[in-house]
Subunit: 216 residues, 2 copies
């Protein structure tokens, strides 16, 4: 009872992902792939991250959406290069879409590319985009049981951001149970509890990202 | 840049959906398909709805999840028949999965089947399950811009539940802007602002559902 994604599609995607990775590596650019449910706070997290890093790195953003370019407009308002990809119905980005977006950017003048994937905890994890790091955002109102329900994306993440921590008192989110569930799926990804809105906890995340960029 | 779902897959799904619809109609059963993002409150809404309707209707629940059966266990604890479907990775339910679940239920002894789809605002809307009504839940923390980003599911819904309204003061959710965006996509679906947690606004939704069941 599973939709099998055609193996040739995934193999073709993987080839293009490797090409993206090589193009980025040639220019010493770090690319991160931000994945989350709709409304978990991908765009606000990206905007807060840009705010803290824009004096240090030359940043570009690739915005994936089913429709609309509202997020790309928000990013451009921050004075950062942004390319919008409308997937026209597809529930995830693919390496081919990102390749076109990278072509539209001046990688030679870029240090960090932030990709905002389509809001979805299922499909995006299947498609390598050529990124260096996969970053998963879960928000407090979504509930602490999400690792049980969407194990693949928790298993694959290089870092997990627990957003809207300022709303922790309002929702019954058991951070200990959440961390335990994550640990059963993924022993290496750090969990950063933070609020893109209030700024709480952002330093640790930005520090981790800076370390990752430095390791390039 | 769109993944085309094979036409034969959708045509086959449509045939099975019609078979489901006929099987339900023969037994005078209403089936609703509940769709939402992960963590929007599908399970809590279903539990609150069961609480209010279980003395009036014989209810069964079909739980769709990528993995785990935590939701089905919660439903069964309410004394209601529940069938779990694990999609094993797929981001939506299909009519064939629901057909098997319906086989496992005694439809002759059932008035209302509530289907909880996989948490996702993209894929579920493509697949007719044979339901009478599509119900979309959006929760306040997800933000008021979601109709712009996920237009298809808002366009197809027969009713839209705006959940976690008790958190409205905490998040900057513009209900007027949200209603306007919905109206541009869908002129017929009512919007019920409610909280599955506090019970606020549930009467209007349950009344609407009761009217729909009465119209069968």
């Amino acid at each position: 009872m599973q939709i099998e994604i055609d193996k040739p599609i995934l193999e073709y995607n993987q080839q293009l992902a490797e090409q993206n990775r090589m193009a980025l590596s040639r220019e010493n650019v770090l690319m991160i792939n931000i994945m989350a449910s709709p409304g978990a706070g991908k765009t606000s997290l990206i905007l807060s991250t840009i705010e803290r890093l824009k004096d240090r790195y030359r940043i570009a953003v690739i915005e994936g959406d089913i429709a609309s370019d509202v997020d790309a407009q928000l990013v451009k308002a921050q004075g950062v290069a942004a390319v919008q990809i409308n997937t026209g119905g597809a529930c995830h980005l693919e390496a081919a879409m990102v390749a076109k977006a990278l072509d539209a950017l001046d990688l030679h003048q870029t240090d960090l590319v932030i990709v905002e994937n389509v809001g979805n905890l299922v499909c995006p994890v299947e498609f390598d985009l050529g990124e260096n790091l996969k970053v998963l955002i879960l928000s407090i109102p979504e509930g602490d049981d999400k690792p049980l329900k969407y194990p693949s994306i928790f298993a694959e993440a290089d870092a997990i951001l627990l957003n809207k921590i300022d709303a922790a008192d309002f929702f019954d989110f058991d951070q200990k149970a959440f961390a335990d569930s994550v640990l059963r799926l993924n022993q290496s990804a750090p969990i950063f509890a933070l609020s893109a809105k209030t700024g709480e906890g952002l330093d640790a995340w930005v520090g981790w990202l800076t370390d990752a960029a430095g390791a390039l």
